[in-house]
């Protein structure tokens, strides 16, 4: 069940340092939204504040409003754990659980939350998720081997399988393909196209072609100077951003005339 996310006047802090300032944006359901921008402008920070992962860091806090289908995610009676169950996340660096097998990693979301499921259903879910992440063929005969024995790219796809296995409403992906070869990258892009029927997908990427290929909407983050907060400069349909952006900075960044 894809859901819509509305963000208004969002300011994100690390202690006293304001990393992201005044973001107001709506993320459409059943679509892929891409976030681009130079390194350090706060894309990851923004992404992590959507599923309340930002606040697990000591001193980190958020001001402003984030709501999903009208429900305030930062409301006083909202449990961040519930938010994260509905909004999954794939991190910049692959982080499979090293003590668990490949199978257990994919099943981790179910097992760690002590959700009861029949063995056969779980098997089917694991297979479906691994197929979804384009990893099934490579690991089907070693599901019980430790996940740490996989290559970096395979680990990242395992993390994607792990995230989609819990069937979130929204999936946040922080440069999911930065460690992958072109074939796996393509597979993940296909996967996103396919998954957007069911999830709302937000992806951070440094790869313009990727943003242009997979996303409907694109947001461009930038920061005016080091030490200044990052801001959402432009948010538009991908087509417009890549052909005829409103902002000069966006055009400069996309055409490589940056800095």
């Amino acid at each position: 069940m894809a859901k819509r996310i509305d963000i208004s006047d969002l300011n994100i802090y690390y202690g006293d340092f304001r990393a992201v300032a005044d973001v107001t944006v709506s993320i459409e359901p059943r679509s892929v939204t891409a976030l681009i921008g130079p390194s350090g402008c706060g894309k990851s920070t923004f992404l992590r504040s959507i599923n309340r992962m930002h606040e697990v860091l000591p001193g980190a806090r958020v001001e402003g409003k984030v709501s999903m289908d009208g429900q305030d995610l930062y409301g006083p009676d909202v449990d961040p754990v519930d938010v994260r169950r509905q909004i999954g996340m794939v991190f910049q660096r692959p982080n499979p659980f090293p003590t668990m097998s490949i199978y257990d990693n994919v099943a981790a979301g179910i097992r760690l939350n002590a959700r009861k499921m029949k063995k056969s259903d779980l098997d089917a879910l694991v297979e479906r998720s691994l197929q979804g992440a384009n990893l099934w063929r490579e690991v089907r005969d070693r599901l019980n081997r430790p996940a740490s024995g996989l290559s970096g790219g395979q680990q990242q796809r395992l993390c994607i399988a792990r995230a989609i296995a819990v069937e979130p409403d929204v999936l946040l992906m922080d440069e999911p393909a930065s460690a992958l070869d072109p074939i796996s990258t393509l597979a993940i892009e296909d996967l996103m196209t396919e998954m957007k029927e069911r999830f709302t997908i937000v992806i951070v990427t440094h790869n313009m072609q990727q943003a242009a290929r997979v996303s409907e909407q694109t947001g461009f983050f930038n920061l005016s100077a080091a030490g200044q907060p990052g801001r959402l400069i432009e948010f538009n349909s991908t087509e417009k951003i890549f052909s005829n952006p409103d902002e000069k900075a966006t055009e400069d960044y996309i055409s490589g005339r940056f800095g």
Binding site: M53, G88, P98, C159, R162
Partner: protein, 358 residues
Amino acid sequence: MSQTTGTLLSPPPVTGGSRRKGRLPRWAAWAVFGTALVLVAGIGLPAGLALALVVLFTGVLGTLALYVLSRVTENRRTATDRLVTCVVVGAFALAMVPLLSLVYEVVSRGIGRLDGEFFNSSLVGVIGEGGGAYHAIFGTLIITGLTALISVPIGLLTAIYLVEYGSGRLKKVITFLVDVMTGIPSIVAGLFAYALFAIFFGPGVRLGIAGAVALSVLMTPVFVRSAEEVLKLVPNELREAAYALGVPKWRTVVKIVLPTAVAGLGTGVTLAVARVIGETAPLLVTVGITNATNLNPFDGRMATLPVYAFYQLTQPGVPPEFAIDRAWTAALLLIALVMALNVVARLISRFFAPTTGR
């Protein structure tokens, strides 16, 4: 520019001789030290020089001779290298002397009574020959087992609090107190436990459990420290991966952090046990000693290996040599126990460590 690079990359200039000068053959160092030994022993031994001094002089003479020889036949760099090598090896040998002589002494004196009877019988009715430490062996195992039973949960929970939950002032205070506790003299821990149990059972109380409490005071901070280090080693990304799946914090700690750290925790437990298993003073005042077998830590005096060794040595009776032999054997057994625990710790960290190979 290229000139500088050229100089940097070329081997450093060799002083004190051309590089074409020969290298000493590999056996040269041995030969030098062998000659030095023959010389020193030949002159020193007839003159009544002690064996230890012979070895010492051989080392000094050999080192100097090798240095001079190398300076003459090789170059200065190699000579310095040989000198430093000799000094390092010498320092290592010096550090090994107390360890080896201790092990040798304990083994040679203790091995004699390392027989079936020592493991099978207590000291009931034993005057002079025979007798064993059955009661003390089991006493030590029971009391250290209880100690671990008390310390591990407390220490683990403290470490989890410090690493996963604690922040601000309380965390600082706890860390400070743990540091202070690490430095408590063991007799103080013993007196504390004695005073505590004397409140409930009156003065003169002797209980196995009181000994376990005393040892826990010593073991808990040691274990907290090591557990804290181990938990800190668990990468934060794993916690975040679990949070992102909607796993509550406590479940993340139980299901992700602890399993990932289990090898290190196991090692920490065994090393902390090894730290307290040989403690004598606290057990002396809390548990006392007995000649009979008492396996109930809640009922009266018990025997333990360190205290057993202490009393066999200090109050051997007449004739003394049998009791003194038993003391050495008890000491040998203690060393063996500590060594076994260290081996166990290594095995634990080998077998439980998550495979991290990529």
